[in-house]
Symmetry: C2
Amino acid sequence: MPNRKAGKFIVGVDLGGTNIVVGALSEDGSREYAMRSEPTRAGQGADAVVDRMVRMIDTVIAETTAATGAKRNACLGVGVGAPGPLDREAGVVLTTPNLGWTNFPLRTVIAERVGLQATLDNDANCATLGEWWLGAARGGRNVVGMTIGTGIGGGLILDGRLYHGASDVAGEIGHTTIDVTGRRCKCGNYGCLEAYASGPSIAERAREAMGDDTSSRLYAMVEGDLSKLTAATVYAAAEAGDDTALDVVRETARFLGTGIANLLNVFNPDVVVIAGGVTQAGDSLFEPMRREVRRRAFRAAVESCRIVPGALPGTAGVVGAVATFRQQALGAV
Amino acid sequence: MPNRKAGKFIVGVDLGGTNIVVGALSEDGSREYAMRSEPTRAGQGADAVVDRMVRMIDTVIAETTAATGAKRNACLGVGVGAPGPLDREAGVVLTTPNLGWTNFPLRTVIAERVGLQATLDNDANCATLGEWWLGAARGGRNVVGMTIGTGIGGGLILDGRLYHGASDVAGEIGHTTIDVTGRRCKCGNYGCLEAYASGPSIAERAREAMGDDTSSRLYAMVEGDLSKLTAATVYAAAEAGDDTALDVVRETARFLGTGIANLLNVFNPDVVVIAGGVTQAGDSLFEPMRREVRRRAFRAAVESCRIVPGALPGTAGVVGAVATFRQQALGAV
């Protein structure tokens, strides 16, 4: 829509271990001017990744000014979401296993390279804020956001504000124990929710459930190479009626329902919004999961909460990065 | 200190299933003018309990005016803490198993009977706020309060404010699952922290651990009547070196440590303050509990948090009720 009301806009960046997504939204979030995604290629090192981010930001700004007729100075700034842990005040990425960065001053680097003000927040916080601002958690006052993929991340909006905790660790929902004597988790703890219900954990439980049973549809689907088995395979097999896969999906719903019931009893949120690959299972996962939550949590907490899939797949992080910029740099609520 | 600076004061009421505690503090909390405790005698019915509360409030006001030389109108009002669930906005106690009340408009009744403004909040919230205002959690910005007794209750102060959640259920720490296939809890759920680490649960686990072994010191301490066994018996026997009791205390520390590690990973608090009878075990409980937390929670969350026993045994609820009155009625922070 060229030349249509050349208002201010904000760029959001979602830096992930696999992809970088960059987009531009109007200041009030009512319009999306651009949205691009490229592979991160973290193995090329921090400099190459930053170069790619800067190029994508410049492209997105150019696309936006071309579309709106606005000048480059109509861009108010850049909000960046990155994997934690972070020192948010200093704008520094402390360590990221997926990127291999240590003490990287990402906020300053981006601001200087792009020549615009920048903010930095945790990617899971951004995704939650995005769903709250423009997605499935709109209107909530107390929102728990979960992203279930390779890991299980979380973000918290409490009394209408992003909650970070004492040292920006808050919201590590995946690393809460649901079985005190349970499975070893990558974090070193035992019985974490993530050790049961992340994508790789779902695949692992399916491999265990299959055992030596080569008659399972799962076995055929990966042509006998069990290392190829993923959560997506499990969902597809369950969809096709495979008993082993159905059991694994049911158990996944039970584990997730237990973890979410804990969140309901402690946070008493009005929305739990769940994003990530695992939600592709749709109602076959959500319905038994909601049943498990009802079985476990206090009725008053259940009645005041809706548990919904995210409405912004792939872009919640960018939208939320724009929202954090609004909050941190512009003081918007 | 008669006639010394006749300032304003606030009355706090902690209505419990066993005792009613009523006290008066100076408006800024720097002085305690009176503190009284009487049995609740809930079996006599709501009217009798309210009569007792009103009489105690009047006595405490009279003691305060006598001590300070102030007039009755120096009393700014009454903060009440009561067992939940509550409708806080309406000032109504919805149901209390321990008192047998249903939809009781406690705030209005107290305000009218005493002739002063009143506020109402959850007892666990009040206890947490009390420890934060004048006790062991002073200076914290994100505080988790736990009270471990007959049950395990909790209160949350997040970003410097009491957090209630969407329907005043928030903070039900005792009813978070730490073992997905675990013990049945009174709340209907399975594997709740409370089913392992409340006073009665500790006693029950000790009875189970003893089995038929009549040689245990625990057995002698209750003269063979296992129904008399309490958490206090277990602590005393552990103190005296009884192996079964020591095992039970160690296991209790492990369960509590797991539950607290979950809170650290999700809330990232700067203080966890623990009150209630169970804390009488002191370091023999706190040290292994802290070890378990360190084993399970993220290092950044552990490093930014202190886990401490409450500093206001018996009076945290009253102090916190005064603090909620200050916040709700006077707009103080």
